[in-house]
């Protein structure tokens, strides 16, 4: 069964500092990988996705993520964090061959930004 692990429950960074949120997945084939962001009281917004090809993918709001098959990881990065990035971030995995298109989510990482 597919699964996602986000080892960091809560991360605090200073505004302007760099950010890396970790995501490890378990999936039997080449996965489809996603990062979503959830601001307080809001829904899930798609930040970026990886299907195939270039392992470094660019997303919205200056985020990027790198797929590393050897490490089963899909870490999210941003070179300079803004206060408005404070939110909860969810990594998700899906993929063909499972018989459906359901996404499996990690437990999320809450990001706090210090001014």
């Amino acid at each position: 069964a597919q699964s996602v692990t986000q080892p960091d429950i809560h991360i605090t960074v200073s505004e302007g500092a760099s950010l890396e949120l970790r995501c490890n997945y378990s999936y039997g084939a080449t996965p489809y990988l996603f990062w979503y962001v959830q601001s307080p009281g809001q829904g899930l917004q798609l930040l970026l996705k990886y299907f195939s090809g270039d392992t470094l993918v660019q997303g919205i709001k200056g985020f990027e993520a790198e797929f590393k098959r050897s490490q089963s990881s899909f870490n999210l990065r941003k070179p300079s964090v803004h206060w408005s990035d404070a939110a909860e971030y969810f990594c998700a995995v899906g993929g063909p061959g499972a018989g459906s298109y359901q996404l499996t989510f990690g437990k999320g990482t809450k990001l706090s930004v210090i001014p």
Partner: protein, 117 residues
């Protein structure tokens, strides 16, 4: 930019009552989903729906749950007899047709927060 919308944003109900959560998926999308997020826990898949029938459902989606696309725009989740443990945020999502990669790009609504008393 097209969005998935959900109504109501909040709903409070008594245990044992029926609730219907409504969603309007993005207009040209053909795959529809419901997920839920119990407070403090991960987002969990409930059900997927395509071509007017359920494609897959999770163990959570038992007989008290049902989904329907009553017209060309709405997609509903009905909980027949609510339990305390049904209290959660319920998210609707939709994805377009096409290759599997597109079908798996799911766009989520803002959610309905359901509180069962």
């Amino acid at each position: 930019e097209p969005e998935v919308t959900q109504t109501p944003s909040h709903q409070v109900t008594q245990m044992g009552q029926e609730v219907i959560l409504r969603c309007v998926p993005i207009s040209n999308h053909l795959y529809f989903y419901w997920y839920r997020q119990i407070l403090g826990q991960k987002v969990e898949f409930l059900v997927s729906f395509y071509n007017n029938e359920i494609s897959e459902k999770s163990e959570i989606f038992d007989d008290q749950f049902s989904v329907e696309r009553p017209d060309g725009s709405n997609f509903t989740l009905k909980i027949r007899s609510t339990k305390l443990e049904d209290s959660a945020m319920y998210f609707c999502a939709s994805s377009p047709s096409g290759v599997a990669a597109l079908q798996e790009t799911q766009y989520f609504g803002p959610g309905t927060r359901l509180l069962v008393l």
